[in-house]
Amino acid sequence: MTCDELYRRLTDHEEGVLDGNVCQEVERHLAECQSCHEIRHDLQDLSRLCREQASVELPVGVRRRIEGLLDSTA
């Protein structure tokens, strides 16, 4: 497996949708290629940074208006 081939498969690999043989090739390449290993590390850091972002909450006023809408039709 070349670096370009691995590059195209990294997300599918993490999503668990690759066939077993291809998955093994990806793992082997990552174990042997420092450059591709670092790319995966970067992507893992990117995912972690994103997960640390604050979640969004529906404003209380909007929630109450929707509750009112649902109640008014009871």
Partner: protein
């Protein structure tokens, strides 16, 4: 309004009580979805409110083929785009990434690695701003898929259901978005440790 019942007498899956529970269970995520599409708090609030009104009107047509949560997300998605269009704003969320597999998009290219010591990559204010800037430089669909998947932690099938795209297409957008962001953020992180 009487609670709609199915012919066999069982409660309809999208009745008022179910929608009230869905507001509790999914309200924040529905608003988050609307906000990620509209980038406007007022429009996002309108989209969610209008979505519940529409869901009430269509309750009897809901067949329960998807979960009520997925159904509401689909309605919020549509409402958000409709509201953007009604206000004359572009809603460029079409599946516009036409790069063919194997094209330059899918090659390793010259983006340097982030090369930093362990624990150097932290979500401080500067990194948050750099990430926000980078997100404006990928396609709108890549951005939406990336945020739903990576920021909100939704699984690929759920994102596919919301956007009405095949899961494989979602993965292509996700992959290209991640790779572009990695490249766009390389200077930021290399600069941080220089």
């Amino acid at each position: 309004m009487t609670t709609p019942l199915r012919a066999d007498g069982t409660p309809h899956p999208a009745n008022r009580e179910a929608l009230s529970q869905a507001l509790v269970d999914h309200g924040d995520r529905l608003y988050s979805l609307a906000l990620r599409i509209t980038r406007d708090r007022d429009l996002a609030a309108d989209a969610v409110q209008e979505a519940f009104a529409t869901a009430l009107q269509r309750a009897e047509g809901f067949r329960g083929e998807s979960s009520i949560g997925t159904w509401l997300h689909r309605i919020v998605y549509t409402k958000s785009i409709d509201l953007l269009r009604a206000r004359g704003r572009e809603a460029p969320l079409v599946d516009e990434d036409k790069a063919a597999p194997g094209s330059e998009e899918d090659r390793v290219g010259g983006a340097p690695t982030w090369s930093r010591p362990p624990d150097e990559i932290l979500l401080g204010a500067e990194t948050r701003e750099a990430l926000e800037r980078a997100l404006t430089r990928i396609t709108p669909m890549q951005r939406l898929v990336f945020e739903l998947r990576e920021v909100e932690g939704r699984d690929t099938d759920e994102v596919a259901g919301i956007l009405d795209l095949p899961p494989g297409t979602v993965r292509v957008h996700l992959h290209r978005g991640r790779m572009r962001l990695r490249g766009l953020l390389a200077d930021h992180f290399r600069g941080a440790v220089a």
